[in-house]
């Protein structure tokens, strides 16, 4: 079973003369434990593809299946709980780490767990373990403003991993980092894909960062190729 299946996905913004096709008939499959890059220039549609898989952007046509569950088939499937699926099946890593500024590193990870129904003590234990595994045990109580770019992005990764998602979606995760930190983050994602058996889709425009990825898709003018 694939972690992610996208079949003939099309996303059109607007209608009539002003309609813009961001994605045109894209199809891809990603297996659990696979690390996949989606490369493309700005405006090529790669973020639209990511947000459609991430249950944020409703596809106009086509089918999206996450962990065996069809979530979109010519639009969202009736009765589907998108928030719950995002909580339980997906993890997100952002271009800017998007940590909550008024929460410590530990609390930023805990919040994802508590939203998913874990008790405070359970969430604290698991969050502390994740941070320790990412060599951030000593920064648990630091606020995002006190963390370096690389540390903040690792906290964001810990938050994305917190609920042991089947799929992790990363939108330009190295864009705000220097080359060395960027490579470290990509290396970490590779390790996590294998260890957690999660499918990881990374959107980036920087080809230097995708060495060692299992597969690379190229998106251009809304069309996907490669892989």
């Amino acid at each position: 079973m694939y972690a992610v299946e996208v079949e003939n996905l099309t996303k059109v913004y607007g209608s009539g003369d002003t309609a813009v096709t961001a994605i045109a008939g894209a199809s891809l499959q990603v297996k659990p434990g696979e690390l996949v890059a989606i490369l493309g220039p700005s405006g090529s549609g790669k973020t639209t593809l990511l947000t459609s898989i991430g249950l944020i952007n409703e596809p106009t046509h086509g089918k999206v299946v996450i962990d065996g569950l069809t979530v979109a088939d010519q639009g969202w499937v009736d009765g589907i709980d998108l928030k719950r699926l995002r909580r339980e099946k997906l993890g997100f890593i952002f271009q800017a780490h998007n940590l909550i500024p008024f929460l410590s590193a530990l609390e930023n990870v805990m919040v994802a767990l508590e939203i998913n129904g874990l008790s405070g003590s359970e969430a604290k234990g698991r969050a502390a373990g994740l941070l320790a595994a990412l060599n951030l045990g000593h920064r648990q109580h630091s606020y995002p403003r006190a963390l370096s770019g690389g540390e903040a992005q690792r906290v964001a990764i810990a938050r994305a991993l917190a609920n042991r998602p089947k799929v992790i979606l990363a939108d330009e995760p190295t864009a705000a980092l220097d080359t060395e930190n960027g490579k470290n983050v990509m290396g970490l994602l590779k390790t996590l894909a294998v260890e957690n058996h999660s499918a990881i889709l990374v959107v980036t425009h920087d080809e230097r960062m995708v060495q060692g990825f299992d597969r690379i898709f190229h998106v251009n003018d809304g069309r996907i190729c490669g892989g």
């Binding site: 991430g54 952007n57 928030k83 998007n98 909550i100 609390e107 939203i115 938050r159």
Partner: protein
């Protein structure tokens, strides 16, 4: 994890300052409620102090507080004789403003018979008036010392006792002297004026050719005695005997054409519905305006605070947060701000209300009502922030 508290903890400086500002505003609202209650208490203070069932005043007036009333002192004997009246006492009221230590010193002077109604009641320092003349009991708010002497009219009066919070309906602190002293202060002319009056009366009568000189001199003496008399009072108050019918007593007194009997309840209505009604409405309007300002401020604070957190809210939505988590965060912050501001306002007024120039009466029912209003305002004000937050798309978390 409580996100509202975490946010407040992180931005505590801003939150505390905002709450203090709002607290000061709510303090003013609380104090205005207290001033209104104080107006009420002040208006009724003399009424309570006197403890009369009936106020007999000049016909055609609503005296002695709302209008001027003058009646002869000796009416007390006739009123005492009315069936059902157990006790009747004449009282004199006047507002005085004198110079004291180079500053205007204003107070309400009550003249009463030492054995009658309307005296100072509880003495908290010193003693009651014992001598017929030149002793005074002052309300605490006058800030006079025992033994201090005050020049009123043509004589010095010594403060022999201090009583509690007795004030006039306009809030001036009250002082008590004997009725005869009060009458002298109010009505007795100085010696030059008396001599002048007597000369004028004498000259007028001397010009009357029909009057023999001896008769003119006799009449001059009699007219002088009448015009110089100080035996006038503003009201005669009466206490009824147990079981007496108030309406019957009023009916009896009303038959005398020149008097107007007013029951204690009617006097209370005159004082509260007539004299302080406009002030009450004014204070009520101010309170509404201030509460509206508070609501606008809270709404603005919550809205701008929500705008600051749009990315946080989008991120929370993206990672699957339920709307109730986001709504809860905004609502709790708004409520917490309101509760803390209310607490600050309340403590501020509690610590200072005794130093206000006018009496502030804090009543539990008013404080609770305002607390509920503040909670409602905070809840409604948070809706602008909640509305904005619910419109945020999770996709806004993406990008730089």
């Amino acid at each position: 994890m409580n996100l509202a508290l975490r946010d407040i903890r992180y931005h505590r400086g801003r939150f505390i300052l905002t709450s203090i500002g709002l607290g000061l505003l709510l303090g003013v609202v609380i104090s205005m409620g207290g001033i209104y209650r104080g107006l009420f208490a002040d208006a009724l203070a003399v009424l309570h102090q006197t403890g009369a069932d009936l106020w007999v005043v000049q016909k055609g007036t609503n005296g002695p507080f709302a209008e001027s009333s003058r009646i002869p002192e000796d009416l007390k004997y006739r009123i005492k004789g009315v069936p059902g009246v157990a006790e009747a006492s004449p009282l004199s009221f006047q507002t005085l403003q004198i110079d004291r230590q180079g500053r205007p010193f204003r107070f309400f002077l009550i003249g009463y018979e030492l054995s009658g109604l309307g005296g100072p009641g509880q003495i908290i320092a010193g003693r009651d008036i014992r001598q017929k003349h030149y002793e005074m009991v002052a309300a605490k708010a006058m800030k006079l010392q025992l033994g201090e002497r005050l020049r009123l009219g043509q004589h010095d009066y010594t403060v022999v006792g201090i009583t509690g919070k007795v004030v006039s309906s306009s809030g001036d602190p009250a002082a008590f002297v004997t009725l005869s002293d009060a009458q002298e202060i109010q009505f007795k002319k100085d010696n030059d004026a008396i001599r002048n009056y007597r000369s004028r009366i004498g000259a007028d009568l001397a010009d009357e050719p029909a009057l023999p000189p001896a008769q003119a001199a006799f009449l001059a003496g009699k007219i002088g005695a009448v015009t110089e008399s100080t035996h006038t009072v503003n009201t005669v108050v009466a206490r009824l005997a147990p079981g007496a019918d108030l309406d019957e007593v009023k009916e009896h007194i009303s038959r005398w054409n020149h008097l107007h009997p007013i029951s204690n309840q009617e006097q209370r209505d005159i004082l509260t519905k007539g004299m302080i009604e406009k002030a009450r409405m004014q204070l009520g309007l101010f309170r509404i305006i201030l509460l509206t300002i508070s609501a606008v401020i809270i709404a603005l604070i919550i809205y701008t605070s929500t705008l600051d957190k749009l990315k946080v809210i989008a991120t929370l939505k993206l990672i699957g947060s339920q709307n109730r988590v986001i709504v809860g965060m905004i609502l709790q912050q708004s409520l917490l701000m309101g509760v803390i501001a209310y607490g600050i306002g309340y403590l501020l007024i509690l610590a200072t209300y005794e130093n206000f120039p006018r009496r502030i009466v804090l009543e539990g029912v008013d404080l609770w009502a305002l607390f509920v209003i503040v909670i409602v305002i905070c809840t409604l004000s948070s809706f602008v922030g909640i509305r904005k937050a619910l419109k945020v798309e999770p996709a806004e978390a993406l990008g730089g």
